[in-house]
Symmetry: C2
Subunit: 401 residues, 2 copies
């Protein structure tokens, strides 16, 4: 006799074990989880009947045992569809994955530059998600969950966006707005947290329990993993790096305060300096202006160099402060754009290492991980899948047990 | 039949339960720990025989149960003696506690100003500890453990002092040097961590699982409590605040780097500015100079004011960065000296609150806790007691079980 809550707990544990292992025989499930073979048999029968898992022939036939059916269990790919979405400054990147986390299709749609109203952004996301689903002949109502990563101050637990460069409104429960607009459960997080989750799940942080991810796009983000979990602070949205202050009464930041790291290293910060001395052609698009400025700095043009070098100095100072405070074993610098090479430069990292407290131990490892918006979206999909697995675990039928 | 490792585990659990509860009947011990009444009886008999605990008459006689001996168990105060020591810039503060953590005597001895050699400082500490024990007719060899708090970069796990303003040498295993010199197990930690531990054990952090303690003396220290434990970072000595950078290529710090918070807020930082403009009498002792400077600032003298106000601005900036990165629910500003009132001032805290990321939630609570060196020493004693309890738990006789 297996009681309801035990069965639910068993479903969760077994579903997670199957998810983590890809393909696994029942006997190994019992060994790994400590759940009895009989209960594994009962619960996996339920999971098979519910279409959440499938039986597949054992791949490694040399491992066959006489007299036993050589089948493994795996997640049933078509059990659920989940979308992962990353909202950037100028575009929305979307990826559609199945229940196994396998990418089915992807899409990138342009977004008007600058922040949008809550409803307008929700509409843009819903339309883009609809278009994504249509690429495989599905619609919004076929999705089981949508994970969305946004820059800014996001409380993942309650779904509130306190501030985002993508939104004109503040203190919006954007998760609820999105869920209602799409008719699909939405899951929201700060985009850098989603990158940290992606690094932890299938990236460079796989083998580390504690690390920091710093993301560089038009802004600077941070995700902290402590003890294998995203560190969120007391108010649910801790770990803010781009708005730590690197200069008392310093440069004006988009957030309205002065001296924020972003106000020195973000592209808008570089461009306003360059524009003020007339060293770039301001009639071209911003990305072209940044390219022009960085090319000029590389070519040794003194004004361009002083602008770019200051950004590097400030970035090194900010990183050194993170190391002093957290003492992580690994820092992952993650960004999609080659244009931030000047921040990843060896002289910047060397300056960081010189600015941390000097002890007779190696400084933390710093690795650079360049990935595109698709990878950010993949983090968002992994985040949403996590909730969908959770919901699937709870799907215990009343008439059984 | 109770096996050795079970008995050791049982001793640890019961000893800790008795420690936490002060006075407790056997039956409650069984209920609290889940250890059977029979095993509680066996193990507490061992602990009584070993002199680690004592029986005392039940205080609350209305709680008496018919037919049962109305006795509680408590730690045997005289089972072990432990010293707690705080090494400051100009003195060593010592406290002697018994096994119950009750203070028996205290002592403060002056120390020559400035850093000392490893052996010289070990000698000073050993002599002072000897004098402390002599105050109650005991000697060094009567002590079971000595906890020592030092400013600087200390790896508590391996006992190494990487750098301390109290030592001329770097990368010294000062714990081993002290243990050998005194013939008593020494336990070392960064002094701010010991304050955090004291705040957690019997101070303002009792009811908080996550908080930050910032200590202000001649330097600036920090202890972080996350999930009820001191956060030590990957290399064992994380959570450095005084040497986070608040200014690129800024004021020169005692550590040799530029722009550290300490280089703006420590007393030496204030005095070198004041001396350079001839606004203080440099022939008097440093503490007198600081007093003179602060009095002049309070009286509105412009040079003194600009020096003191800059320290406040930098301190607010540093605190704001801690809040942005950690998002703690509580910050405890702990320091012994009234002279740092200018850093605790409401305008400094208001500036901090203005410099953190603004969301629709309250900023963290900031409380000021002024306590003397004796309290720091008490933190050190609590730290050492913890190890002594651990050692006492392991004291399982071979001839029993």
């Amino acid at each position: 006799m297996v009681f309801g809550h035990q069965r639910e707990q068993g479903r969760r544990v077994l579903l997670r074990a199957i998810e983590r292992n890809g393909r696994i025989p029942r006997i190994d499930l019992s060994n790994i989880t400590g759940i009895s073979r009989a209960t594994v048999t009962t619960i996996t029968a339920d999971l098979l009947r519910d279409g959440l898992i499938a039986e597949v022939p054992r791949e490694d036939s040399t491992d066959a045992r006489r007299g036993r059916p050589r089948v493994d269990l795996k997640l049933a790919g078509d059990a659920h569809l989940v979308a992962g979405i990353k909202v950037s400054g100028a575009s929305i990147s979307l990826i559609l994955v199945n229940f196994e986390g396998i990418e089915l299709t992807a899409l990138e749609v342009p977004l008007p530059k600058g922040p949008a109203g809550t409803d307008a952004l929700a509409d843009s996301i819903a339309q883009a998600t609809q278009a994504l689903a249509a690429q495989v002949g599905k619609s919004l109502s076929d999705l089981s969950g949508v994970g969305v990563g946004l820059a800014g101050i996001v409380d993942a637990q309650n779904g509130t966006v306190y501030w985002s460069p993508s939104l004109t409104d503040r203190n919006v429960n954007f998760r609820d707005v999105l869920s209602l607009r799409m008719g699909v459960p939405a899951f929201l997080d700060n985009d850098a947290n989603l990158v940290a989750m992606a690094e932890k799940t299938f990236g460079l942080g796989r083998d580390h329990s504690d690390f920091i991810v710093v993301t560089i796009e038009s802004g600077v983000g941070m995700g902290i993993v402590l003890n294998n979990q995203i560190y969120r602070g007391t108010r649910g949205c801790g770990a803010e790096f781009g708005h730590t202050k690197v200069q008392l009464a310093g440069a004006l930041c988009r957030c309205g305060q002065r001296g924020c790291l972003e106000a020195y290293v973000a592209d808008y910060a570089l461009l306003r300096e360059a524009a003020s001395v007339g060293s770039i052609d301001v009639t071209q698009p911003a990305s072209g202006q940044v390219k022009q400025l960085l090319a000029a700095a590389k070519a040794g043009e003194p004004t361009a160099r002083t602008i770019v070098e200051r950004a590097g100095h400030m970035f090194a100072l900010g990183l050194a402060n993170l190391v002093n405070v957290f003492d992580p074993e690994l820092i992952i610098l993650a960004g999609e754009q080659m244009q931030f090479d000047h921040l990843y430069a060896e002289e910047v990292l060397a300056e960081m290492r010189k600015s941390i407290v000097q002890i007779d131990k190696s400084p933390p490892e710093v690795v650079i991980h360049k990935w595109g918006n698709a990878m950010w979206a993949q983090g968002a999909a992994a985040y949403a899948l996590d909730f969908v697995y959770e919901m699937a675990s709870k799907d215990v039928r009343e008439d059984v047990g």
